[in-house]
Amino acid sequence: MNHEAHNLPATSGLTRRRVLGVGVAASTIGLASCASLGGAPIGRVVVVGGGYGGATAARYLRMWGGNVDVTLIERNDAFVSCPISNLVLGGYKQIGDVTRGYDGLKALGVKVVKAEVTAVDVAAKKVRTAAGEFAYDRLVLSPGVDFMTEGVAGLQAALDSGRVLHSWKAGPQTVALRRQLEAMPDGGVFAMCIPLAPYRCPPGPYERACMVASYLKAAKPRSKVIVLDANPDITSKAGLFRKAWADHYAGIIEYKANAVLREVSGTTARLEFEDVKADVLNVIPAQRAGDIARSAGIVNANNRWVGVNWLTMESTAAPGVHALGDATLSAPAMPKSGHMANQHGKVAAAAIIAQLRGEPVNSTPVVMNTCYSFVTARDVVHVASVHQYDAKDATFKTVPGSGGLSAAANQIEGRYALSWADNIWGDALAV
């Protein structure tokens, strides 16, 4: 599918009339931020989800688009980063260290609405929330993931009870898991279940094993970390994690591959041939596109992910609805990561501005990814990749000879990892 085809709606007379009508309507609401830039907004964009993808899209729509009317709808008070949040479990950071507000986006003229989106009417181009309805010319859904607990007996009830935590969305779950670790007796067992890929943040579970083991090694050295991985091997940075576990956590971390979780009973993980009794059980459930994508009718890949046109990040099911981040059906070798969601947000912002202006969209987008993982409180390993758009196959492909892994864990990258967080939070949230 080429970009000209996707550009048609934005250049049609119908769309232009609608955009003009919107400009008049919006000006009656009183957009101080837009008025200061002069003229009516060139279009209304509603962004659902203020994580790495949605916040970045909102920021860049304002920065690059000037007089684009941007509303960001987010159900939480603040952004809490999943990257770096494993350090909270290790006791090396507090949750406040990975939390940022939306004031920076507000100052840039983004209308931030705290609300849960209850329905998306793609035909009527409206988003419904408890705080009212929001009409749009273009919609950006950056819903992250929701969990698939079906197929694992007892898991949903265990998560609902709060006794078993996923901690795969940073925030209260992160703090609660840290408390469980603090309450665990010396000699206790922390068990973590990893779902089959694809899931959010491929190296994240293995970094978590390191951070928990680092804490236990210092505070409760007779304890164990048991990693129950549904995958046939460590999903990301395998050699680097194996080395870190051997160098730092021998006798603490025990790794089991092909360990598919069948049932959760109390804090016992039941596998096909074995029960693993834990004091603290952390289950990372299998994941799919966030539920709001499903209700918008754009989950069209394996009944799980959102297929997108990579030139615009528009849903292949609903032109005019853009989807970002973990919720998308990933291009080959493209990780589900906050870094990548940020890159998606910029591709979408550039495309939306072009579409609203009736200009062609960028036909040669590039995105790249860097994931830093802490293997100790200071030593870090990375994986990086660069993805160029391939017009023939209409997808992003990694560039041969580019990207790669750290040669070895090191403290220089420990500093870079924290600086990465500072820079990307600033980039996405203008804080």
Binding site: A350, G401, Y416
Partner: protein, 126 residues
Amino acid sequence: MSPARRGTRRVLHAGPFGPVTRGARSLVLAAATLLGLAGQAAMAQDANLGRNLAATCANCHGTNGNARGDMKPLAGMPADKMLAMLADFRSGNQPATIMHQISKGYTEEQLKLVAAYFAAQKPAGK
């Protein structure tokens, strides 16, 4: 430094992808060619290509190259200096933790556009 001034820079470095030279001038030539071939629409697209490419760097190097912490600021860096650094990363002359891997993911033309974009950015707070 004006874009025209940058465009007159001479060869600074023989990188693995050829001499690092003509940065902004080749952008102007490429844009002019596109203008001739495909008209105004292509020109508009090309004008944002450097911006879009440079935005892929912002995750680490800050929005428009205004980096924080231990990351290298890129805003306002002369294009020839940046291209020489990138060439050294690609050739291995400059050891790096990660930039030797990332720099190889972009074409020479893309790196020139990135360098020209960052050179034109005013460092924040200066």
